[in-house]
Subunit: 330 residues, 2 copies
């Protein structure tokens, strides 16, 4: 079975963007892949305060379980509880130049977004190296990422090749990006990306009222003022969500044509979407509430996942150390 | 007892520069300090090939034992065998900005010397962070360093203060530089620093012939052509070594005056110095040869030192993780 490494930063509740972009794929993939799902608390700590990170750990697990990630088929673990990842990171830091890290377009963009400039924390600049450690520790060959994360995969494979060449070994394994077929779900406001910090997200755990309110405020086509006017489907968040959630694709296409021609009210589209979202999220919310009743159970799932993950990472680290010639006492 | 962290990169045999600058102080300090002596193999691996690092580990231990470092009083350990140091490094990387690392004058100078420019490996640029991890893991309050290494101590203390402030704790302890009273021993060629890679070093394990040859080629005063000419003592390596090794300081002062006035031959000075060095190094060489007969014994000393060092570092790491709020399962 091919090995997958995937995961999330525990910086807030997971939302529909996570669901469409990754969670539903994990559920689909877990039966025929060896899947490691990492809660990236260390990565979150590069720019988020510890208390917030801590508070979100179990929330993320509740989200995972609610959508159907099966902790028997998938290994759910916390990054910080696998210290082998930190050690691998330190070994890999010797294999990457500062110039290479600064050239990484994903990191460059994130540094720009956060206004860090030269005051970027070293831990933030080097997080592609930490990601390479996460991926290679599990010898993952598939890494589900957005198209914009492709440079991270390239960076990882560069490190893999350098390490193997330097040590004359084949300990580390190259990986490839698994870019989801379904494109990224836009934010409620029409922004390209849904994010809690962007204020345009709908949480997986949203109440019926929150779902209603989200659909009501959802961006459609600002020029579609009267029902009989032709409307635009591209960039129309309501249709993007119908594409993502409506099981009747033919009906969605019919509605799109009608909207384009004119004669279909936003309220009609939104009513349909709201019904679908309410129906889709109700069982998830119910499941989530049930799992949230048993925090000790979720803790145990995490604890067991950490033990499993650690055993795998420790084996890779042993091989890495052997290849580097620093297993003096083994 | 105050705690000391000190150590060496295992990149070659130790030489007289190490002896004067640090080894003899360690022997003096070990009885009334808690002294950790780290063989910095990970730091060496940032710019030295693994095979060379590996080959030098036991050599360094033989040097230590030969000069009188007592493995009961001092804990001799290998950096890579204490993986807690790598994990601390990763935590600390979040507390230092890229700009701060680039401003570090010691690192700046070393980057210049090695011609790295922007191609500096990330592991090299961040090595002050790794040093901060080494120092704080043992809660060392005294770090013997040359005056030029003061910026490293400042960087460590900045990390200590940031960590304690961020976590509202007092887990980490500030340290101060312990700058040796005896100045740095110049190289045989008169260069400010003795270094194996500079080709101006005399190894602690040098044979009598090597010692003779080294004294013969030693830089004195290039303008002191005839015995009766006045000679210069400043920058004169033979006198610098007499200052370091001659037990009769008054006689050295007398010789200096005579040399300055004129009437003292370089050969006379060098003969005295050679006798002193031969006498000083003979027992060290003999001891070293005896310890080198028992590599298994040296290995055991290292193994035991690593176990002791690891216990201390692991305790600090637990406190660090607790302060960061990531000891979820403890």
């Amino acid at each position: 079975m091919p090995t997958i490494l995937t995961g999330d930063r525990p910086t807030g509740p997971l939302h529909l963007g996570h669901y469409v972009g990754s969670l539903q794929n994990r559920v689909r993939l877990q039966s025929h892949h060896r899947q490691f799902v990492m809660i990236a608390d260390m990565q979150a700590l590069t720019d988020t305060e510890p208390a917030k990170v801590r508070a979100n750990l179990l929330e993320v697990v509740f989200d995972y379980l609610a959508v159907g990630i099966d902790p028997v088929q998938s290994t759910i673990f916390i990054q910080s509880q696998v210290p082998e990842l930190a050690e691998l990171t330190v070994h890999f830091l010797n294999l990457v130049t500062l110039a290479r890290l600064e050239r990484n377009p994903t990191v460059k963009e994130e540094i720009r977004q956060r206004g860090f400039e030269r005051d970027v924390p070293a831990g933030f600049l080097t997080y592609p190296v930490s990601q390479a450690a996460d991926i290679t520790a599990f010898k993952a060959t598939l890494v589900p990422v957005g198209a914009d994360q492709q440079p991270m995969i390239e960076q990882t494979n560069e490190i893999v090749r350098r390490f193997n060449a330097l040590t004359g070994s084949s300990v580390l394994v190259e990986c490839e990006a698994l870019i989801p077929e379904q494109g990224r779900l836009p934010g409620l406001d029409g922004g390209a990306k849904m994010g809690k910090s962007l204020g345009n997200a709908l949480a997986l755990s949203a109440s019926p009222d929150e779902i209603s309110a989200a659909v009501r405020r959802m961006y459609t086509d600002r020029n579609h003022l009267r029902i009989e006017d032709p409307g635009q489907v591209e960039g129309n968040v309501a249709f993007a969500y119908l594409d993502a959630f409506d099981p009747d694709a033919a009906e969605v296409e019919r509605l799109k044509s009608q909207y384009r021609r004119g004669g279909l009210a936003d309220t009609t589209v939104k009513r349909r979407l709201e019904d679908i979202l309410q129906a889709h999220l109700a069982p998830i919310r119910k499941q989530r509430a049930a799992f949230a009743q048993d925090p000790a159970g979720a803790r145990n799932i995490l604890l067991e996942g950490c033990v499993r993950a650690r055993a795998v990472a420790a084996q890779t680290l042993r091989e890495v150390r052997q290849a580097l010639g620093i297993e003096y006492f083994a």
